[in-house]
């Protein structure tokens, strides 16, 4: 199994550009998450999904959008990139059982200049 796959691994954007961070999991997990990690800081929840067609906001959703058309994919879209969105982005997934650990992708390092 590949687990959780994130692409790209690195990206540099100019202010005002748009992009989509891709996330795919092959474990048939219902719950998927997007977190951002600023330098030296913890992970903050951007958006999450409890199943295909269902998404909701986390702690820091402003400037981002998500969709969940399939169980496998959970893309994160930045519409108008700003320097404050410079961060490492992690996608994660887990089964619905509460004691199940999160499976993380390897992260996307995004710089907005």
């Amino acid at each position: 199994n590949a687990g959780v796959t994130q692409t790209p691994k690195f990206r540099i954007l100019k202010i005002g550009q748009s992009m989509t961070l891709q996330c795919a999991q092959d474990m048939n997990h219902n719950y998927m998450y997007w977190y951002r990690q600023d330098p030296g800081m913890g992970l903050k929840l951007i958006y999450y999904s409890v199943g295909a067609g269902i998404t909701d906001k986390g702690e820091v959703p402003n400037g981002y959008n998500v969709s969940r058309s399939t169980t496998e994919d959970f893309p994160l879209r930045l519409e108008l990139a700003a320097p404050s969105q410079t961060s490492v982005y992690f996608c994660a997934s887990r089964q619905t059982d509460d004691n199940e650990k999160l499976f993380f992708g390897s992260g996307t390092q995004l710089s907005v200049l």
Partner: protein
């Protein structure tokens, strides 16, 4: 919303010694799960240990153990026989159903 607080931004320990990392959380829930994750320089997130709130017995995983104090909403991690490979960021996390929140992390350095 639940909050997780790690009050020690950085800690260091000598190789082979024991260190304890602190974590407190705020919730009105009675059933939930707590985790410690390790993030080495590779950026990979690695599950270290998990604890179910309804279990009074503290979880242990080899050199890692927790001190879970439910009434005090405290969840500390003890690392025994520290190894150089333990040098990493350690994150405390709270989970209730779909909601999973992380603390700001503690940077642990193990010195030879």
């Amino acid at each position: 919303a639940q909050t997780v607080t790690q009050s020690q931004p950085e800690m260091s320990v000598q190789e082979a010694e024991t260190v304890t990392l602190s974590c407190t959380y705020d919730t009105s829930e009675s059933n939930y799960y707590l985790f410690w994750y390790k993030q080495p320089p590779s950026r990979q997130m690695i599950l270290v240990i998990r604890q179910e709130a309804y279990k009074q017995q503290n979880a242990t995983e080899n050199r890692f153990s927790v001190n879970f104090q439910k009434a005090a909403k405290s969840f500390s991690l003890k690392i025994s026989d520290s190894q150089l490979g333990d040098t990493a960021m350690f994150f405390c996390a709270f989970m209730k159903h779909y909601d999973m929140r992380f603390g700001a992390g503690t940077r642990l350095t193990v010195k030879p």
